[in-house]
């Protein structure tokens, strides 16, 4: 797998290195990054734990197969530029993924050391290497292949669009990224808060892709400013990648949801992150956070909203979630961070109404207690309402963080593009090809809200197909076709 032969270094037995974090009492009042990253000494100590398993079970748990033992070995040798290059062979956003990947469910879950004790802190090491490279200003400039004269349009500047753009530029194609908002980065800039992913890091990644030669056109809504059809027929794009994300907020459709003080998580986080409402009035966009806030939902988005509310001055912040602690879909680390910062978990509760005052401002959220019943299709125990158990929690702000769906703007304005019943774009997952020749898609708009690494991975697959498409080659190589045929027969 690795092109460069890396020699094996003996491992040292010791506990997993903690990563320093800001004190909860301090960080509750600022938006600076919570996790501070390893020092070189810590990184070296952590790296020394890795036994460099030949079978690399960890790499198999990573959606883009980062060659983990190889990069860790390079850390052991203090060859940080070598380590970053190794990671970048398959992962173009290590500074982001090292921070936000759900490692406990991916690479680290399969680490040999994890079976008997604590897994190697792969994500933290990845972050260390990426940060070291950024600090040294060594994001590297790969060699670009000669210009092909072909033009590709990328819709959306999230992790998936950035990955496609970076790879296509390297192949010598001309690339333009179209972004609806005034700032590029997708959820990485408007959704995930500064205290978890500093915006400077996202900007560096965007600048990197732009530096390679991709044109980034913000304030351009594909479907309205121009449709995909027009991009292809009038603007002369030979191929289009749709990476427009799952940007449609779900509401619960319960009474009172339009009262003042009720936000979708998207709006709440966009105001705070993209529009920097936390420094109102220095920044012009306001945000209203009452003394008591209820966040509905149990995923990463809910944790981010709750922790943002704390930082914006709320005194009591509740997470209202209908299942139990064990089922919380958020990363364990984020749940712990939220708990440390004082977020109160109201588990096994489901909101049934939002109560307003005479001025139609939120004054309470009415919840119903739940019990866990039989497992449902997802294998999780299904919450069942306890009759007559309604009670009110007094709050001034409610944030609905129960998920996002497909925004129909692009799909509904593109001809001959198939979507499924939820509005997600249908693709061949081996190639990213849609029903329309020359149009490819990936990331949240195909899978539904997922993860940064999956969106990026889908972008890399599509970039390979687009490159082949632009060169008039079949999307899959003959061997891949054969392998796929075997797979299909199974």
């Amino acid at each position: 797998m690795s092109e460069q032969q890396v020699k094996k270094t003996p491992a040292v037995k010791q506990p997993r290195q903690d990563m320093p974090r800001q004190d909860p009492m301090v960080r509750k009042h600022n938006f600076s990054e919570v996790a501070l990253g390893y020092t070189e000494e810590m990184a070296l100590r952590e790296a020394s734990r890795c036994i460099e398993c030949k079978k690399q079970p960890c790499s198999k748990g990573c959606p883009v197969n980062v060659d983990i033992p190889a990069f860790i070995s390079l850390i052991k040798q203090k060859d940080y530029p070598g380590a970053i290059n190794k990671i970048k062979e398959t992962n173009s956003l290590p500074a982001v993924c090292g921070r936000v990947c759900p490692q406990e469910d991916q690479c680290e879950k399969y680490c040999t050391l994890g079976i008997k004790g604590e897994s190697v802190a792969i994500g933290r090491l990845e972050r260390f290497v990426a940060d070291a490279a950024m600090a040294a200003g060594k994001t590297g400039k790969p060699a670009l292949l000669p210009a092909t004269g072909k033009k590709a349009a990328v819709v959306g500047s999230g992790p998936s669009g950035l990955a496609v753009a970076g790879d296509l530029i390297k192949k010598g194609h001309q690339v333009t990224i179209f972004e609806a908002l005034h700032k590029a980065g997708g959820v990485l800039v408007y959704g995930i808060p500064e205290f978890r992913l500093p915006k400077q890091i996202v900007q560096t990644e965007v600048d990197y892709v732009a530096g390679l030669g991709a044109e980034v056109k913000c304030n351009f809504v594909v479907g309205l400013t121009m449709t995909v059809d027009e991009l292809m027929t009038e603007a002369g794009f030979d191929a289009v990648y749709l990476g427009n994300g799952a940007g449609l907020p779900y509401f619960m459709n319960i009474p009172g949801e339009n009262f003042n003080g009720v936000y979708s998580a998207n709006e709440f986080l966009t105001r705070s992150n993209l529009m920097k409402a936390y420094s109102f009035p220095g920044n012009d966009t306001p945000i209203k956070v009452g003394k008591k806030v209820a966040v509905v939902g149990g995923g990463n988005v809910a944790m981010d909203s709750a922790r943002t509310a704390i930082r914006l001055g709320a005194e009591e912040v509740y997470i209202v979630y209908r299942r139990s602690h064990a089922e919380l879909p958020a990363r364990k680390e984020e749940v712990e961070n939220a708990e440390e910062e004082g977020v109160i978990f109201k588990l096994l509760n489901n909101p049934v109404a939002i109560i307003g005052d005479d001025k139609k401002w939120v004054k309470a959220i009415r919840c119903q207690r739940m019990e866990l019943g039989e497992p449902d299709q997802s294998g999780r125990k299904k919450p069942v309402a306890v009759p007559g158990s309604e009670f009110d929690i007094e709050v001034n702000t409610v944030v609905i963080a129960i998920g996002q769906g497909a925004n129909p703007l692009v799909a509904s304005t593109t001809s001959a593009l198939n979507t499924n019943k939820w509005g997600y774009i249908v693709t061949d997952e081996r190639t990213g090809a849609t029903s329309r020749p020359g149009v490819f898609a990936g990331g949240d708009i195909v899978t539904g809200a997922a993860t940064v690494i999956l969106a990026m991975g889908a972008g890399k697959i599509a970039a390979r197909s687009i490159d082949r498409y632009l060169k008039d080659q079949p999307l899959l190589t003959a061997e891949e076709e054969a392998a796929a045929a075997v797979q299909d027969k199974k």
Binding site: A180, L181, H182, C218, N219, F220, V221, L224, T225, M226, G247, L248, P249, F251, N253, E257, N258, N260, G261, Y263, S264, N266, E267, T270, R271, M275, K276, F280, P281, G282, N283, D284, T285, P286, K288, K359, K360, N407, P408, L409
Partner: protein
């Protein structure tokens, strides 16, 4: 970035910009709007497209300086750039030959009504435009609307131009006179649109209104702009901005527009101090 080509003051605190925005002008249709940002710390605000010309790439916006952002915008001069401008957003006006359409413009609403009247006439309708404002000085777009309407009726609160009274009184009279009206379009302050719908509801006259809730992204991503229409939640930026006025929950819209009143006031006061009272 979009360069301002022409700047005009139409009335005290009301400005008109013609901006160079070829991509938007190429696609803009009556009823659509743009979102803009004036500076790096600025908020995103929606403004209706008052006119557009695909050939010259020019886009016209008209706005009232009511708070910090519109005041900052009004400070820009011809030759300067608007930092961010995106569009055309929202659904265009539904156009067909209805017969006789009464278009009602309240105050600055005359600007957004203009392209709609133009398009309705082009679709073969007779268009009676009723324009209302507080006084003569605040009346804008009269000449433009005269050019495109079949008939224009002016009202002012103080009688300084046209007849004295409210736009709803004129509408009421038209109905009383037995004028056959096939559609009413009302654009202006929410209270005016609500009052118009009050009149038309009794007569079951189809009424289209253009709603102006607070927005952020303008692409259906945040839900800030939600309103209740016929008991269902709609996002004005993508499902509208035009809706069946007889089904709109105006009281909810009014209260949602006031969500940040205190903050808006605070920001404006601080801005006035930092700009030395020159605004």
């Amino acid at each position: 970035m979009a360069r301002i080509k022409v700047k005009k003051t139409l009335a005290p605190g009301v400005r008109q910009f013609v901006v160079d925005a070829p991509l938007i002008a190429r696609k803009a249709k009556a009823g659509q709007f743009v979102i803009l940002r004036v500076c790096g710390e600025g908020e995103r605000i929606p403004l209706t497209i008052a006119d557009s010309d695909a050939a010259t790439g020019e886009l016209t916006i008209v706005f009232a300086e009511v708070g910090e952002t519109t005041t900052k915008l009004g400070k820009l001069n011809a030759g300067e750039e608007i930092l961010d401008l995106v569009g055309p957003l929202g659904k265009p006006t539904h156009l067909e030959k209805f017969g006789t359409v009464v278009c009602i413009a309240g105050g600055i609403g005359a600007a957004p009504v203009h392209p709609i009247v133009k398009a309705l006439r082009k679709a073969g309708n007779e268009v009676i435009t009723i324009m209302g404002s507080r006084n003569k000085d605040l009346m804008i777009f009269e000449e433009e609307l005269r050019k495109v309407s079949s008939e224009v009726i002016i009202t002012t609160d103080d009688g300084s131009s046209g007849r004295q009274g409210l736009v709803t009184e004129v509408l009421w009279e038209l109905i009383e006179q037995g004028k056959k009206i096939d559609l009413v379009v009302a654009i202006g302050p929410v209270v005016m649109m609500q009052a118009v719908c009050h009149v038309t509801r009794d007569r079951c006259l189809p009424t289209v209104v253009s709603l102006n809730p607070i927005m952020v992204d303008g692409t259906g991503m945040c839900g800030a702009c939600r309103v209740t229409v016929g008991g269902v939640t709609k996002f004005v930026c993508v499902d509208g901005p035009e809706f069946d006025g007889l089904k709109v929950d105006f009281d909810e819209l009014k209260m949602r527009q006031r969500m940040y009143l205190a903050e808006e006031k605070r920001a404006f006061e601080e801005y006035k101090i930092t700009c030395g009272g020159r605004c």
